[in-house]
């Protein structure tokens, strides 16, 4: 590519991180370090029942026996787990705000700055928001309206108090406490997150959304999200994430569990924009996340859509266990790395039920010194008669210092199942660039437009509000482009 092109690419990828501010707020923090006492303290602070305290302790002992995974195509300095603080909360949140009026105005201001106004009157109609600030949920909106429909949408810690039976029944049923190093750590120390239960036959009347914000220094964020869609129900859930600009790396190790019962559908969308570190690769979030959905009932469907633009390192594989007959799993992903970001992301589709279907569409964009890896598994179990998978992984390279890697695993033990996988890697097409420029577009705009087009199939899976944010993150104008 000509030198002029690389200048335009720099313009594209060097958009400043807009969410790097710090909120100066009084914090209740547990001193750095991790032992059984710390876990008991977290559990006590949250007033948890015994089963949960025991569960945490069990996870902690499991974690002690495990070693950090090293198979991902990422490199980082070893993490000192004793230097992290495992709990941070805005001080007055101990008892939990009863309404928005009790929420610290500084927090409300924070969310205004992030573009997530929590006051109902100012909010986008039709989206209920749960805001998680460091370790605790600070506000959940539209709760009453949702309750009218029978939908439970609340902070995880509240669900533990109010609906302990549901939590006990489903927690760890998709991601067991011994699942992997980071999931076990999360199971031991998780702080807060969102809980959703959609009862039988209910179509959730609005989009549910959680906005995660890391604010405190030297803390890890370990949220836990549990979404249960009972028979014949439907829910669409969105999450967004931001963090201040800090020189040290911060660990984010979340676990998300989705359960879809018979005929239920869960759509889970993420726009992940944690602080990616600076141009030299200093600082940024380590985003080591376990996300898994269980299509437990027949004809159920779980759809993951993710736009990953942030984090210094991303390690996540939102997956589907297609247990119910005729169940469907989907994974739509755009992952962008620039500067020194590294992403190792993809999905697992485990086909167990008959006639199960899965679709994987992954678009990776690498720029700067970024390293972008798609890692995926499609497994057809002997019981998965007539199952189908289609996978398409495309990588686009912007610059000669970055990398794009594709590691798909296909395992089939059922001859009537069909798997198709295709992958391509290339740089941006000179022909397309020239065509756009001949029509009068600047090189930068032409690149924006082509990159946006490259991601379009994924963007169109996002709810409208998020599609806008996602495209803005790619520095591309939405206008008219999403048809």
């Amino acid at each position: 590519m000509a030198a002029t092109n690389s200048k335009a690419i720099d313009g594209l990828v060097q958009g400043k991180y807009r969410y790097g501010f710090v909120t100066d707020i009084e914090q209740d923090t547990i001193a750095p370090g991790l032992d059984e006492e710390v876990i008991r303290l977290i559990s006590k602070k949250k007033g948890e029942p015994k089963f949960l305290t025991d569960w945490r302790i069990k996870a902690y002992h499991q974690w002690l026996t495990m070693t950090e995974p090293n198979w991902a195509h990422v490199r980082y300095q070893p993490i000192d787990y004793q230097s992290i603080s495992y709990y941070a909360a805005p001080k007055n949140a101990d008892d939990g705000p009863k309404s928005l009026d009790e929420v610290d105005p500084k927090l409300l201001e924070t969310y205004e700055k992030l573009g997530i106004p929590l006051h109902e009157r100012a909010r986008l109609a039709g989206v209920a928001v749960d805001a998680v600030f460091d370790s605790v949920s600070v506000a959940t909106t539209f709760k009453e309206k949702l309750a009218g429909a029978g939908v439970i949408f609340c902070p995880f810690s509240e669900a533990v108090r109010e609906y302990p039976d549901l939590v006990e029944q489903y927690l760890g049923s998709v991601v067991p406490l011994r699942d992997n190093f980071f999931a076990s750590l999360n199971s031991a120390v998780f702080s807060d997150g969102s809980f959703v239960y959609v009862p039988k036959g209910v179509r959730c009347p609005m989009e549910l959304s959680t906005y995660f914000r890391i604010n405190a220094a030297n803390t890890g964020q370990f949220e836990r999200t549990l979404i249960i869609a009972d028979e014949d129900s439907h829910v669409s859930y969105l999450e967004g994430c931001t963090a201040p600009m800090r020189d040290e790396n911060q660990l984010h190790a979340a676990v998300v569990e989705l359960i879809a019962l018979k005929n239920a559908e869960i759509k889970y969308s993420t726009v992940q924009n944690w602080y990616p570190g600076n141009e030299e690769g200093v600082g940024g979030i380590y985003n080591f996340v376990t996300k898994r959905g269980d299509c437990r009932g027949n004809n159920s469907k779980i759809s993951w859509t993710q736009v990953e633009t942030g984090s210094a390192i991303t390690w996540k594989y939102p997956s589907c266990i297609l247990r119910g007959d005729n169940s469907t799993g989907e994974f739509y992903s755009v992952a962008v790395v620039n500067n020194f970001q590294q992403a190792d992301t993809g999905t697992k589709m485990i086909h167990i039920g008959k006639n199960t279907r899965s679709t994987i569409l992954s678009k990776g964009i690498s720029a700067g010194h970024g390293q972008n890896t798609y890692r995926g598994l499609v497994r057809m179990m002997p019981s998965a008669k007539g199952a189908r998978n289609y996978t398409q992984c495309d990588s686009l390279l912007l610059g000669d210092q970055c990398g794009a890697h594709t590691f798909p695993y296909v395992e089939s033990r059922q001859h009537t199942a069909k798997v198709e996988h295709e992958a391509t890697t290339s740089k941006i097409s000179e022909d397309q660039l020239f065509y756009c420029r001949q029509r009068g577009l600047s090189e930068e705009n032409a690149i924006n437009m082509i990159v946006n087009g490259f991601c379009r199939e994924v963007f169109k899976e996002l709810p409208m509000e998020f599609a806008v944010e996602a495209q803005n993150l790619l520095n591309v104008s939405l206008e008219g482009s999403v048809g």
Partner: protein
């Protein structure tokens, strides 16, 4: 408007144009004909600013400015338009979006007011009807899955919308049936005016029956070897290019 003097061009060290000169004034229509491999498309691509082509000698002046120093988009802003022989497919970018973005980029460069979505639709409505392009076309990705004829009509739609002062049609007639050729010709004729000039690069005479040129040039061996009026095109159609080659080698 456009002066090409003694133009020499190489592709991968292979000389393609060897001293081509041509002058085009406002309002004129020039046809450039020639056998395969004579350098017709190379000329079109060089004018539009494709950088795989290396100009080793000569000059091109457009409105008194050195065209060779300009980026492709700067040439477009000055009113130069190329209807591509093989229009590129751009997956995921819809047709209407590209066209509107291009129109506004050019308007902005000329300090003109940009158009909004509503004005844009009004602007292209008649042009689409003229080119017999259905509305659904606008929401499809640029040229993706288009037939050959659809691609060519789409190029002309873009030309009509961008209203260039110099349009170069690179074999726009090739692969079109009679009806499609008529539609394309009507579109081109509609754009003709005393201020606008056209370069028709073609292999056949049939387009020139519908879009009548003021000048016809024959390109062979990378140079213009013969110039005349429309009768030259007819003669070429009847007698082929062999005699030109013979004449050239005789010189």
């Amino acid at each position: 408007m456009l002066q090409i003097e003694n133009l020499h061009v190489c592709v991968e060290d292979q000389p393609i144009l060897n001293g081509l000169s041509l002058e085009i004034n406002a309002g004129q229509v020039h046809a450039i004909m020639g056998p395969n491999g004579s350098g017709k498309s190379t000329l079109a691509q060089v004018l539009a600013g494709r950088d795989d082509y290396k100009v080793t000698q000569g000059s091109i002046t457009f409105y008194g400015k050195n065209l060779l120093e300009m980026q492709p988009e700067e040439r477009a802003h000055l009113g130069l338009f190329l209807a591509f022989q093989y229009p590129t497919e751009i997956p995921g970018v819809n047709n209407a979006y590209l066209l509107k973005a291009a129109l506004n980029a050019q308007r902005a460069a000329r300090n003109e007011q940009e158009v909004d979505a509503f004005e844009f639709m009004n602007l292209i409505k008649n042009k689409m009807e003229m080119m017999q392009i259905p509305k659904t076309f606008l929401n499809r990705s640029v040229n993706e899955g288009f037939s050959g004829g659809e691609k060519k009509r789409n190029e002309i739609l873009q030309m009509l919308t961008l209203e260039p002062s110099l349009a170069i049609l690179d074999e726009t007639d090739s692969g079109l049936d009679v009806d499609a050729l008529r539609i394309v010709a009507d579109g081109v004729n509609n754009l003709r005016s005393p201020e606008r000039s056209l370069i028709l690069v073609t292999h056949y005479e049939r387009l020139l029956e519908l879009v009548v040129p003021d000048f016809v040039h024959v390109l062979a061996g990378g140079r213009i070897v013969k110039s005349g009026d429309r009768d030259l095109a007819r003669y070429l159609d009847e007698h082929g290019y062999d005699w030109v080659q013979t004449e050239v080698s005789a010189q």
